[in-house]
Point group: C2
Chain length 316, copies 2
């Protein structure tokens, strides 16, 4: 059942020993939301922990500072930024299936798997919903919580660049700055730093980028050899897929990544004039209007040639 | 003489036939401020034009839409985002020396060259000051003015990434979104597009990037041959200088650019632990704590070796 902010605040106020779950492959929004909520609940005098089925990437370690794990048996379980029970990851999903009391989320695709769900699809980040809970419960956002919420807000909006950014996103950022969020430091970590392995992969990717059809189509091929050589990983690969469409004049940008079975996972990004989901559906894939994907058979040359055939038809 | 927002609003209200000057090598803030102010003054029933001594780059052409030039003899001259009369550029500086009635600016380095100056050093952008003038004069910010102001605000804050971003910057962004600013489109143009010539230069730069001292120092050398080969220009070069320090672990990033006389202009960016201005002063240069510069003699190898000597001493 869907509930609103004040009902969610009342549920939290009515319980103690609260366990908060972040989704697997954790990002800034799920972690920022989980740790800010944990801080809010402790400020309300409750026992609370935040947990994640996967290891927390080092860039987010600051969120754990001064937040030692408490020992209790969970009486109330809250999932944050989690659209589906599956997204909690293998172990968590088995442990908590049917046992999540409240889910706080902003994904339109939320399956309402929890007993109650606070779902606000128009929020750019779950952090924005957690901030409303601070207001509702009367807990002041301290600088540590402000850092968590700013991380969630800024990473999910691409530092206020993406179309999901609203007036409310900016107003929350203003409040968080006044609450002491270390925005300069956080922006540096999340938006101005390339890991050595990412930088190495990006270098190989840019070296191999090819343009076709008068520069309207740009493609990058990432082989397993390139991943090995750069030492890069799955998590860093997403950022590579944004590169082809960044070139002026490109309307279809594609990144073809070699999988262990020799096939290629294709990420397609398009300018507003082209529907990426529709385009990819012709190749058996799907996605969103601006970003979609599909699978093509290898080897690399064959996959690219096949893709170029579809692009030619699209641009004709 | 320095005046405040309400005094500046009164001066503008008291005059007609107002000419607004943007600085040479125009950026988003000077143009956004000039064209938004021009729209505000026309909404107040005044004759007003905005002018710039240099050609306006195509990315800003949207600001001119529906704003035909009016014919009048300037009775009151306002410079925006201009810290020094010299920055108006060669022709403008001679024409308007001693004739600028009001300067609206946020640069702490403003020389107070105008008869009166509305200077707000804590504003991240001049656009934020122009927005205050809209409030003061009671003119509603329409969508066209919102686009201009958002461009100034977002370009001067690196889309809210830089340390100069304040709570007021974010609150203005929220207001501009509600006033109809096309933030998604503008962000795409200003923060997610690489011109073909920039992309070509970046590719050459990244290919040639070298790391030294256990990856703590990264350097890029841009030769005149690389500028020629990529077709890139002076304006695009600034963005290249941010690349070396983006690599994780790098504390000094340098970009050495070959000048027409064979010497090298060195741009240095540093992590907070190192004072770039102090570091560059040892090589006869100067600048800010995080970004500074100097000149070194060529050829390229010699310049880099000399720089490495200074870096070795700094990191010792």
């Amino acid at each position: 059942m869907r509930i609103d902010v004040s009902q969610a605040a009342r549920r939290l106020a009515a319980h103690d020993n609260i366990l908060i779950l972040a989704h697997a492959h954790p990002d800034g929004d799920t972690l920022g939301s989980a740790f800010a909520l944990c801080r809010m609940l402790r400020a309300l005098g409750k026992k609370a922990n935040a947990a994640c089925g996967d290891t927390i990437p080092p860039a987010y370690n600051f969120m754990l500072q001064g937040l030692e794990e408490e020992h209790f048996e969970a009486e109330y379980v809250v999932a944050v930024d989690t659209a589906d029970i599956k997204l909690l990851g293998h172990d968590m999903r088995e442990t908590y299936a049917g046992k999540v009391d409240l889910c706080i989320d902003h994904h339109g695709s939320n399956t309402l798997f929890a007993a109650e769900t606070l779902l606000m699809e128009k929020s750019a980040s779950t952090a924005e919903i957690i901030a409303l809970l601070f207001v509702e419960t009367g807990v002041a956002i301290d600088s540590a919580a402000a850092d968590c919420l700013y991380t969630g807000l800024s990473t999910d909006t691409g530092c206020f660049r993406y179309a999901n950014t609203t007036a409310a996103s900016h107003r929350l950022a203003a409040d968080l700055i006044e609450a002491g969020a270390r925005t300069e430091q956080l922006n540096k970590v999340f938006f101005e730093t390339k890991t050595k392995t990412y930088a190495a992969l990006e270098k190989l990717a840019i070296e191999g980028m090819k343009l076709f059809f008068d520069g309207r189509f740009a493609a990058i091929t990432i082989t397993r050899e390139m991943m090995r050589k750069s030492g890069s990983n799955e998590g860093e690969y997403d950022r590579i897929s944004t590169l082809p469409l960044q070139i002026e004049g490109v309307v279809i940008g594609a990144t073809l990544r070699e999988m262990s079975d020799g096939s290629f996972k294709v990420s397609v990004r398009t300018a507003p004039s082209i529907d990426a989901a529709k385009f990819c559906s012709r190749m058996g894939g799907g996605g969103h209007p601006g970003a979609a994907g599909c699978r093509l058979e290898g080897p690399a040359d064959r996959a690219l040639d096949e893709l170029k055939g579809y692009v030619a038809a699209e641009l004709a």
